[in-house]
Amino acid sequence: MALLEVENLEIAVAGQSEWLPVVEDCSFSVDNNQTLGIVGESGCGKSLTAMAIMGLLEQSQVNITNGKIWLDGENLLDMSAGDRRRIMGDTMSMIFQEPMTSLNPVYRIGDQIVEALRQHRKMTSAEYRTRALQLLEMVNIPDFQQRINSYPHQLSGGQRQRVMIAMALSCDPKLLIADEPTTALDVTVQNEVLELMLDLQRRTGTAIILISHDMGVIAQTCDEVAVMYRGRIIESSTTAGLFANVLHPYTRGLLNSIPAIDSETEWLDAIPGRVPMLEEKLSGCAFHPRCSYSQPKCADTLPAALSIGESHLVRCHFAGELEL
């Protein structure tokens, strides 16, 4: 069994009068030393899936309606709230997109790192400080001995994200979930932060789930990729396998939408329409209204997940038959 196994996860959010499904039949796994990328456009359910694993969903608004989340052989959804709190930030931790809003502006960063540590490890004050310094050094904060006393606003965006990573790694998590960790950063800084995460993985063997809308970031960083559209994983494979053989029209459309950096074209091959709103009920394949290969069957029947080759899964009636 892999370190993390998500099985048929279903999440619903409270709508006007009923619960609306936002994530459906979502299954994937990540093991030690592995990086899984989850890619998709806004509203496809990628962040909610991450929050569900972490146990951060606001129960009155969002509900896990079905499924199992196995971490190290234990189903997280069967655990008591207290047990989950003990795991959160210890065995698994999370990095968020906005490094400015995820840090407390009125505390020094050293104190914030120690605060996270204090939840899970018993040490003397001096030991806490030593560990905090060690973490700041590990994430390459320049002048970390002085910086430990800085407030978040005194750091650059990239440095703040490094501090977030330091906090997330303070208890040597087995699983690290990074939700758009570099989206708010400049490209040159983005590379440093991604490289830092991978470097830590090489040293500690942490499993990483990287959530991103950026195919380039995913291609460069991940071993495996899952593409989500409207709450479902519509295609998943090893990164090399996916880019060598794209099987779902949505994945192809997403790739075609990105302007090429190394060549020039007159027009982009854009996917028509937009991601449907949650309230819009759709039968069959959720992508069919925007798909140029759509057949009557696509509007009627939900395509099952077909397994093609080794570890390549795709939800499309015509997988493998289309010239994408």
Binding site: T221, L255, I258, T265, V275
Partner: protein
Amino acid sequence: MSEPLLDVQGLKVYFSNPATRLFSAHDAIKAVDGVSFQIAPGEVLSLVGESGCGKTTVGRVLTRLEKATAGRVSFSGHDMLDMSQHEFRPLRRHIQMIFQDPFASLNPRLTIEQTLQEPLMIHKLAHNRAEARRLVVDMLEKVGMGADVLGRFPHEFSGGQRQRIGIARAMIVKPQLIIADEPVSALDVSIQAQVLNLLKRLQAESGVAMLFISHDLAVVRHISNRIAVMHEGRIVELAQKTRLFEQPEHDYTQRLLKAIPRIPTSLGA
């Protein structure tokens, strides 16, 4: 190059540094520090760079939202920076802006018709309501929207549709120059592609010149004729786009190009 539409020479914008102590010499933050470029009629020039490089400040000076510290900007022969607000008003029609955030740049209390009618009325491009409505409907059609949206409010639209409305608002007065500051960076990739295609088509059809400000090099390569790379308030390299990407000369440009994560090419787009 033919007579430039916009000629920017030695533009400097300094801000006073709030962190400077009371009695020490004031050191200014040099947001823009001697920037010069020209845009020909109908040309698309991009300003590209990382956050804090000064690209947005340049755009804000050109729309007179920010005051220049030094330098000269001439727009179709008029020296823009020395003008009074009153003298500048007739030029304003010809320099329009498209903003980054489609959620913040439309007045939530105006219907789409009112939003698009307002510039027509201010610049006296329509003489009566019927004429204004006809122009508004024509423009909406050009951005891929129907007359059914006239009475609706911005909150009823998605980000991509709002950006189309923002583009319509800038284009409806038939300007000579559009300053587009990160117009697609808030949009999802599939919507971004649609809006980029739209911008490119409208630009080609109308022959409007454009200053396209962005941090995204792939987007910039797609839309521009020429590209200026900014770093720490200066333009470090300015070239035709193909040349810039294939033979970047400046260190910083090379570093920037190398930093972009590539999608494996085996998938051949």
